[in-house]
Subunit: 430 residues, 4 copies
């Protein structure tokens, strides 16, 4: 995530305060079903405890807004700066990431107190700013909104893992969507040429979406929906996890070294595959998009299918020209659904472009030509992670609405399986 | 600890039920100061979460008593058998020990419900047994008492570590004892000869204390109290942690590999050494016994001092002949003190023999001549750990009163530092 | 590296046999200064023993040429197929890479016998082929030439490491070049536009250089020579290895986790930096190119300098248009020099483009648009490594002449330091 | 191991020089079948290369004899002190043990030169000593003899492992002994009482055999020969490696964690078990002693058989009283046999007591009462390893004749499998 991106133009104290309240309340709403014990656990090093997420996003406002702009600033608790800093080297030492689950205090309720305290001070600050100061500060506060939204998604991703390792199979929320109908994969042609990608419109973007720049694309085509569980079962039945020739070398190393036989949250019981979701554990539904597969698995699938993954430029150019921004009914993190749903009937266009599952691309996560990170600690947001990761596009069912767009670049290591990832095929292009 | 030891002779339904209630209540009393979050954390693989201890000791009664003797037995929750089994291979698969901290549910309150359910069923069972059945069952129930007392001690040891890694320095309980006066180490001579060790008296013992047997001891002498923090500071000032020639080879590997510079819970701030205790963090008090040192450190200290550690036979023979059983004022786990205290004034005899700190001996933990483990799962209690560990004697400030005796054999690997360990010197003997 | 690349057009039995002899003799010449013991050691998992390289390139001819085309083929030694296969999954099981140094037999001399046997059979085969068969086979044999040349470079890279861990500081060969004169970095402007990269000329290429394709470049400029040791010392003096803000996050993890303080083969003795080379250990010469730095270090240097690394497209386009192919006096692996040398006087163009040190680019190693690996085992050559690595361009002082070109793509993980790597700065481009 | 043991009384310059020559020549004779490559490999961290052993025993004489007694002493090569020191902290820094296989130079022939140089200087020194000096020095030189003999055994143990990982199955020496006849295990009763153990006779002993001291033994009995491969196959057939209840907890962890299914050097091919030996790989012979089993395996076998392992005191007392010292026909490291042989016909006494396989005892390796290590570097020989190891008694087919005796204490960690170990059962004793 990022920084010297672009900002929404006309924040007023009222709209800023109201958006602040909305975002902050949503975080607490997402944490509400979770017990203090649920909020404490770190089930693997990549996962952070729920109460850590709740505190860390609060720390962000305290550190980058209050500490620099509040009169007579004093931190709520000195040691929270150490506990809830994530990776900002410039802000000082940090508590080891892999040991976040060793910290029982502050407890879930104490974190609520911390949030309340910072909320009150933030509202005071926003109320009392003159227009010039507000203009200067709005960008950082807006970054805080997007930062907190990112952590809302991470909170869900992470608690999904926490609940998955528990033999009691706890359920986070309500019921999943009903199954869909079988559906043949269609293709959408895109012309290409010397196109532009990167953010340029109005409103917010992260720095890694900038600058908008030219790139050349040969004509190509994209699958019109995500690959489904049913198609993935075909891949498995055809020896997908047994045939070295389908895999990147590093991927094959993981398959054999870690015993991968199916997507991350699948388990076979008496011959039937089940999938752990935030709504409970269910038999694998062939009409749903396959999810929680690594880049290596997505790439092996595409090789098996005689196709490939799209580049991020191909994806973005198609999204820009064919879809624009996410439709209101995209399957993003709405109140009651936290899992991908079946693609609707064919439309002739690209279905499931936003939401459902993050789509692995074949592009490494690297700076755009002319990229420069921001000055200071906030400049650590995105640029320093541009190494050893792959780009994903489009958002997933855990992504807050308003938090993704055609130019949005998500990124994870090629072996990551706990994010809600999926894949769309591409073809042509050369 | 163990099983086919000796049993108290005359349990009645009343005394058994009353002792059951007392032990069970004490566990809950010890857990009471801890939040749900505190009870969830596993701060290193050796540590178990508080709520795991509370559930595991309950599982012991459910598995070894109710499952075998309750009419129409059904487990409270099937999966608890998997979650709360510790190391009994014969009972079935177990949840990985190092991942006990990944389990948020059952929560602390749910564990309370589990305890309540088993308590009610246990009382019913005890009430309805005829005398013959009660005789047969009392031994296993009594073993359950001692098992739960062991876990009371472990619960305190473990939560001490959990709180120690928290930068907020949480306090478990009240205030520590006041400092004592400086005190010169004295010596007590023991004659030796062909002596007997091992449990033989009335009442309970673990199987590893049996059989009582003959062993030969040359005349020897023992330090009349535990080594103090003040004496340990002298060792440190004299290069104790820098001089390879003082150390066992494996110990020196730990010193250099893990950077040991002081006892486990000591930290130096601006030139002053502080010690983390369950009562808070305080400057190191030179009059208190040094504690949380490994066998390697204890051995290096003894070498530095030109002395040695006692064998377990020397310790037990001296305790039998000079002290008998723990005195009522021994510093065991009483209500308000969870730390070693200063030795009182010299008595001419052995001070601090029971309580304060477990005393490392120079004896490896091995079976006594003629030892045989019990049949069945309960036989896994002690015997299978007789490899790669050293014997400790005497009990510590976290040991429940009634849970130690002259013949009691505790054991830990030579590198363990999170138990409340200390040392007493020995000399002569050859 | 690769396979369905392009092939030299007109091999005859004579030219093929003569080239075969020349390449094979060069390998033995490079191994000649090394004792049987030198040829046996694997000093880290990435390194292979010299005698393994000598055998493995022989196995390649036996497996991909003789086994498929020799009449009455029988392997020289069955178990050699297991021992000297490197990563071809399709050919069968392989001996664990990290344990190549555990294999004392076949010894260095036995490997010589193996080489001799295969050489004789290869010459027989080439002599007896009719023209049609020769046309079909020449491509695979030519691939074997380039494969063996690659291993000639690896043999030197690897033995440099083996000798470096030996306190006796053994010397592989003669004397290094004399120091050069100080030299200011100049810049060369390149226009960019919609350009083509990828191999297209006559002669051999690996599959990863194909297909030639269009890409768009904004105007940019490149440093006119490699960064020197003198410049690197400035970076170090300015806290280069201490300032997190200069580093990619993964790179900073290596700096702190592995204690990086200088290039891989530098060691400081009494305040002076020394560099281990194949010619011996010498004080660091400020006029020489810095070498054995990882991508992370190269990137941090560029950030510190306010510049960036070039993309592989920028590098290749400049090389194509400004330099063409390597000049005869490029510092590639000539008989007596195995280290980078100082840049000559400025020329107005790009100096040190080929040879001296492989140049890290900012491009991840990914397939070109339209890339397809070859069928069969030989298709494992390049494509399956297109994950988690960065592209390097230009060749180094260990690269055999004739084995690099403007379109040649080398690749290593971003943390690799034992290859002979360096860097050239870029600027502009957006 | 050891030092301030007892010494042979009457060395003269002649007998000392002649014994020196004999021991030194034997080392070179044992290394003679090994190529330079064989002598270079370290196939696991516990193993040292043959040429390292040859150099290290030479370093011992140079360091502890020549450096302290030679006039105008100068080391043969400064860096050899660093390379060939094994674990003497007092002598200075050491090259990392696990990286001994990374050192190609000095080569096998260079080590021969080093040996020749030190031999010449040692002979000069011995020749020129007056009687008083000779008396003072003879003890250290004699220790050097026993040290070199220990390394002769280690050299064979280690090269056995090196050759075992090679798919070519190289043979070190000649042919194994012919198979023996089936043989029923008999028992020998021993009375026990207050007995003495420890070295007391004339001649050399290591310090860990001292002081001789009293210990008490109840009556016991010992198996009259080693357990055979045939008996081990019965154990395996009865689920020996599948039944947790037979195993020490740490042992079971190794069985499951490392997949132990049979003794270390056994491999099953098409249903038949084969055993790697220094004489080649052969079908497992049921009449031979089982060898290369860990203490954990030996203990599990004894539990399965309803018996136990002997204590070291039981073993030594029986050996002293029933056997005295090794018989001339004991199967120690004679010229042509490097493997255990079948027990001869029953004798009514203890067969195979010395030689064939080291016998695991149930005793941890700890100091005898009154043990004190020697002053100075040589004091590091034995005492500092008295932690985490088990005692073995009797010698094996790789032990040089004259290098074992009734009081000799060998020791290895309980999980070690590459030494030539076996077991004898015990019963009674309580
Ligand atoms: Fe964050
Ligand atoms: Fe327990
Ligand atoms: Fe190769
Ligand atoms: Fe040695």
């Amino acid at each position: 995530p990022a920084t010297t991106g672009r900002w929404t133009d006309h924040w007023t104290a009222d709209t800023l305060a109201s958006r602040y309240d909305e975002i902050r309340a949503r975080t607490e709403q997402l944490a509400a079903p979770l017990s203090p014990e649920d909020q404490t656990v770190q089930s693997m090093p990549d996962v952070s405890p729920t109460k850590w997420h709740r505190a860390h996003v609060t720390w962000f406002f305290e550190t980058f807004v209050l500490a620099e702009h509040e009169q007579r600033f004093a931190p709520y608790q000195d040691k929270y700066w150490f506990l809830f800093n994530s990776y900002y080297e410039a802000v000082g030492p940090r508590y080891a990431r892999a040991e976040r689950g060793h910290i029982s205090r502050p407890g879930a309720h104490d974190v609520g107190d911390y949030r309340g305290n910072v909320d009150a001070r933030m509202r005071d600050l926003i109320d009392t700013l003159d227009e010039g100061s507000l203009d200067k500060l709005a960008g950082t506060i807006e970054l805080g909104f997007h930062h907190e939204q990112q952590h809302q998604e991470l909170l869900l991703m992470d608690i999904k893992h926490v609940l998955s390792v528990n033999p009691l199979q706890p359920v986070y929320a309500g019921s999943p969507d009903p199954a869909g109908a079988p559906d043949r994969l269609g293709w959408v042609d895109v012309e290409g040429g010397l196109v532009e990608i990167g953010h340029d419109g109005a409103g917010f973007s992260f720095d890694n979406e900038l600058p908008r720049h030219r790139t050349f694309l040969e004509p190509y085509r994209l699958g019109d929906r995500l690959i489904t569980n049913g198609e993935w079962l075909d891949f498995m039945a055809d020896g997908g996890y047994d045939r070295a020739e389908l895999w990147l070398s590093d991927g094959w190393g993981r398959v054999t070294g870690e015993g991968w036989r199916a997507p991350f949250y699948w388990q076979q019981v008496d011959g039937t595959w089940f999938e752990h979701t935030l709504h409970g554990t269910f038999p694998v539904d062939p009409s749903l998009p396959v999810t929680h597969v690594s880049h290596y698995e997505a790439d092996a699938y595409a090789t098996w299918a005689g196709k490939r993954l799209p580049t991020e430029a191909e994806w973005e150019h198609a999204a820009q020209t064919l879809a624009g921004e996410p439709a209101p009914d995209a399957n993003l993190a709405n109140a009651d659904t936290f899992h991908a749903r079946a693609a609707g009937p064919p439309t002739g266009g690209l279905r499931q472009l936003f939401g459902d599952c993050w789509e692995w691309t074949s592009s490494a996560y690297l700076p755009y030509p002319g990229f420069h990170p921001a000055e200071g600690a906030i400049g650590e947001y995105n640029g320093k992670f541009m190494s050893g990761q792959m780009v994903l596009r489009g958002g997933c069912a855990l992504t807050p609405p308003g938090h993704t767009r055609a130019s949005y670049r998500n990124f994870f290591p090629a072996g990551a399986r706990w994010p809600m990832t999926g894949l769309r095929l591409a073809d042509g292009g050369a």
